[in-house]
Symmetry: C2
Subunit: 142 residues, 2 copies
């Protein structure tokens, strides 16, 4: 048991470049990899799993720094759970916030697309308000 993987293989499996993996190690997102006699890094399946998690978390906007902090808490082990929860809960809030922004943006984009499509179909080419972009969202404050 205990299959091990070279850095290139890990890169291929996770989609993280070899450079980025080393960078993550330097930054402390992933622990110092074990080395083969000769100095090459080797990784276990668990290392890959952790890296996969990192990809997901980074992809959702968790900064390298926060990710380091999280890993440090995990490394320190017992007694850090509530800090981990705090960190993750904070991040969950940020994700939810981003989701709302994305929803809003998607609506705006779809609305604009619809307007342009109408224009193309001639349905609405009554030559609208000059100066406008012809695709206002109309849902502003003020």
């Amino acid at each position: 048991m205990g299959v091990r993987y070279g850095i290139g293989e890990v890169a291929a499996r996770t989609g993280v470049s070899v450079h980025a993996i080393r960078f993550y190690e330097r930054e402390g997102i992933i622990g110092p990899a074990e080395r083969l006699p000769g100095g090459n890094r080797t990784y276990s399946a668990e290392d890959i799993d952790w890296l996969d998690h990192c990809v997901v978390l980074r992809g959702s906007g968790l900064s390298v720094k926060e990710l380091c902090r999280y890993r440090e808490l995990v490394r320190r082990g017992d007694g850090t759970e509530s800090e981990r929860i705090a960190l993750l809960a904070e991040h969950a809030r940020r994700i939810e916030h981003r989701q709302r922004l994305l929803d809003q943006a998607l609506q705006l984009v779809r609305h604009k697309i619809a307007v342009y499509e109408d224009v193309l179909e001639g349905t609405a080419n009554i030559r609208c308000i000059p100066g406008g972009d012809g695709a206002g969202a109309g849902d502003r404050r003020r």
Copy 2:
């Protein structure tokens, strides 16, 4: 009619810093502002609306460059609708992709939080797999 606003006021209303507004102008995201005799920029309500849209689009990950391109199409006016649609549709796809990533991340985060909460409640402190972070998601390929 035709109330006009100074750059500071626009900044306050849109949440975009004065610096960033000038930066956006240099980059071409917003057109060269009209000037008061004396050189100060003034903005109309429509300018503010456009800037608000820009905020939403930027916030959803549309790059400054793409936003410039979009504004350029709008400026060129009639005949650019299908290009605008293409650009926006492409962006809509990116937003949807980001949404999926965020959903995935949110699930992971919530799962981890739940696991740590269980640990805190003593429900699960059977001292788990050493080396694990105690909050694996278990939904990996491989």
